[in-house]
Symmetry: C2
């Protein structure tokens, strides 16, 4: 198209007044300012800068940035499950229904989903709660997963990834002012979506600490302590659990879940169970128990009363379909009038992405034994999960071989969260830079090796302890290299900061102020 702009209207001859902006850091919504999200925080932004530099020829002591900061399986080379993609492609472009290249079971799944879409098109809005047959399939999946515990598709809501569902439920629950303001109990360490959402909604953070000495188990006495302390300054109304744990990788025992649910029942807490890693259990001694199933087994008094929302996602498991932003939540015992309010709230955003709903459908309704895609599907699924189990063991073993580093077993999920010893001198240097000590550690790790992990301070940790979160997603060869480089870096770091004199001259006057504060 021709540029028919009249340049004369642009009066470049006059100096332009730059006026004060309407939207500045001073006028920005303080709730937005309060939000923190380390998984894509400063370290990751820095990693992106370094990566661009590498592409432009900047010399670094490494040739690539390895992003072990986020559970993004495909970005680390994991292949999509063929059947999932076949069904979504068929839904996208139904002319492929005639193609002999696609198996019949994939075509049937796609046809079934399109049947329930407006105008039989993925391009229509779905109902705010999601496509009906997808909700029905999810309910069937849950009933089967939980060995027969009934599931009602009317309690299922499709979401834009699990994050969206968690945000929607939290939004309902926040009310009151001052001492009656809603308090939300979250594990520490936690996935920072929770703290971000609580900040954004101006709810009260209630931290309960997972027991690192006991494989990050959830200790009921600690839950009680946190609750009783919080009661003085807020109204604890919500209890969040992440199982399998993120960033901590533990799989909670059935007994522990029973205790948590009993506690929630006694204290009238709304339970939010983040179960997005339900398919990611690697330890032969661990088993996934859904909060819903355990609640059912505790008897109808519990099953009919405890308000529970459970979240799942297409992004994790063996599919790793993060980009589709698919997910669902099952909501139990919600007041019917509140449910209507939830639907109203969801309807403002119209619907979750329908392609993500289609992907979710395949995950809960995979090929059955008699269907043509069963063998390939099963093989692909097995391969992903076996590789993850192998990498979980590998990571734990190598990390535990590093002096000054201890790592709990990665029983499930996709992360290791080792504790690292940081020498007092490094702590002091970090503090002089107004930086968390593990941030300094991760920054140096990135700068020296190209490895990008997230500091433990972004997830929360007991004071005086330091950690980082890394994913176990790189392929075994790359993971081994990564772990060896990490080991070398750590030893170098320990040596550097154990010398008598500081390496840098920054803020030398403060150098002894924090020496007494030792990590435990």
């Amino acid at each position: 198209r021709a540029n028919n702009r009249n340049e004369a209207t642009v009066d470049t001859g006059h100096p332009i007044t730059m006026r004060e902006k309407t939207l500045t850091m001073a006028t920005l919504n303080p709730q937005v300012k309060a939000v923190e999200y380390a998984v894509r925080g400063p370290i990751v932004i820095k990693a992106g800068d370094i990566e661009r530099g590498l592409q432009e020829g900047v010399k670094q002591p490494f040739t690539e940035v390895i992003k072990a900061n986020i559970g993004d399986a495909h970005a680390m080379g994991q292949q999509p499950i063929t059947f999932v993609r076949q069904v979504v492609a068929l839904c996208c472009f139904p002319e492929l229904m005639d193609s002999p290249a696609f198996p019949d079971d994939a075509k049937q799944r796609a046809q079934r989903i399109l049947q329930d879409c407006g105008g039989h098109s993925l391009g229509s809005y779905s109902a705010s709660q999601g496509v009906e047959c997808v909700r029905r399939d999810i309910a069937d999946y849950i009933a089967q997963r939980d060995q027969g515990v009934p599931a009602d598709w009317n309690n299922i809501y499709l979401t834009t990834g699990a994050s969206d569902g968690i945000m929607s439920i939290l939004k309902l629950l926040v009310s009151g002012q001052g001492r009656s303001r809603t308090g939300v109990m979250i594990p520490i360490p936690q996935y920072p979506l929770y703290s971000a959402a609580i900040s954004e909604l101006e709810a009260v953070h209630i931290n309960y600490y997972l027991d690192e000495a006991n494989c990050w188990a959830l200790d009921i006495e600690e839950l009680q302590r946190a609750y009783m302390t919080a009661k003085h300054h807020c109204q604890p109304r919500v209890l969040c659990i992440i199982n399998p744990g993120n960033p901590t990788g533990q799989v909670q025992s059935k007994k522990c879940i029973e205790e948590v649910l009993h506690f929630a029942y006694e204290e009238n807490l709304f339970v939010m169970a983040d179960e997005v890693y339900q398919d990611n259990v690697y330890s032969p001694d661990s088993q996934f128990h859904s909060f819903k199933k355990v609640l059912y087994e505790m008897g109808p008094e519990y099953f009919s009363n405890v308000e529970l929302a459970s979240f799942h996602s297409t992004s994790k498991g063996y599919t790793g379909e993060c980009g589709f932003r698919g997910g669902y939540m099952e909501v139990l015992n919600m007041d019917p009038q509140v449910k209507a309010q939830l639907v109203k709230l969801l309807s403002v955003r119209l619907c979750p992405p329908v392609s993500g709903q289609a992907a979710m459908d395949v995950i809960v309704n995979p090929p059955q034994r008699h269907e043509p895609s069963y063998a390939q599907f099963t093989k692909e699924k097995r391969a992903v999960l076996d590789a993850l189990a192998h990498k979980a063991r590998l990571t734990e073993e190598i990390l535990n071989s590093v002096p000054g580093m201890t790592c709990n077993p990665v029983q499930g999920a996709m992360y290791a969260f080792p504790q690292i010893f940081i020498p007092p001198r490094a702590i002091q240097e970090a503090q002089s830079l107004s930086m968390a000590p593990d941030m300094l550690y991760c920054l140096k790790l990135l700068e020296e090796t190209g490895i990008c992990v997230v500091p433990g301070s972004g997830f929360g940790q007991r004071e005086g302890t330091y950690h980082f979160r890394m994913t176990i997603l790189p392929n075994p060869e790359k993971l081994k290299v990564l772990l060896e480089k990490l080991k070398e870096f750590h030893l170098r770091f320990l040596e550097e900061y154990s010398q008598q004199e500081p390496q840098t001259n920054r803020n030398a006057q403060d150098q002894h102020s924090e020496m007494s504060k030792k990590p435990d």
Copy 2:
């Protein structure tokens, strides 16, 4: 899988205590309670109930429910644009790159998008702002659309539909308490996402009325009146404009946009320009002018200062891909620190659906004249837009032929918003039912004809006037039937409520209380 549940654990012998819930209407977040969204409100829920009834054999005076409540093109039978679906299907299932059934230009588009995805997979998270090449394509599109006005891809953010972008920007802008609380200027009538977002964020609604007598033009004096009035009780900081208008269908003139931007400049308002209907202009006398282009033409003093966000979407235009939840925003003159805060806020939700980003890419980067898909693409695009233009005229003509109904020209967008005369007796009946008079009208229309439209009260309207919004999306045959049925209904309604005695006995004692209130 066998049902191996131990039924004995379910102690059905004891009566279950139903305890008071944690989450009730009394404890629900009051900001959620305050949200209203008529486009999927009570009328639409009722329409769904009637539809299910019909399927189950319930007798009605009609055989189908026609949902003219929402701009959901595919649900009304509009066909997807082949090229869009080919590219997205190729991105989903790259094995199709080898298929001769797909044209080369579609394959090149898909390859280009995948090249910029982590692991070359649509299943990876993208950067929080979106896939880089998609952002670059959008910037190129904008520069071309605006006849050479420069566009920087760093100012482009992909979104989960336009709604998500609008919500994110509003979230940044809300601050202060009492008289310093952010006020948001919105047109009346408006698309109710705006009022819903303002309620949810507890900002202050500032209504400026569009001029119905002048084709729903935006009158600058009315803008000033609304601003001056609001200044007494809040801090007006944001000005929202919808152009082409929803629900009102007008296309603003360049002169009007200049005045609005001048006003925003003078009063230091952040401008939010909802331009999702930029491709939907039907009237030969109307032309779409982007706020950005007009701002540029006003000179660098304006172009370098006015803070402006413009929103676009995959859901409207000629593609109607609502289900993909694709969209973008371009943000001008935002403070760099605030931009970093915006990125942080977006990163908590990780990324918009990547399939929606792919669809957005095709829309801004369609086949070029020399490419194999050009002819089919152009034909399909033309067919959709011509049909919409025809239906816009048809709707306006028939509605204006109904006594007691007047409809402005549908210059653009996808809706007619006729004013309807509601007889005083009907108003009185509605009020005795605590119902807006146009809600009563739309409810009766639905019950008697199966036609689902949204009452004007859901969008806002001058007091004493009544409207409804209907889409022009049904195919011409169905649309004609719909309009004829609507006409018959309206005449029946007028007759019914013009009789001397009320048809119902409800609240007969109030029957004269509102007789003096006449619509104008």
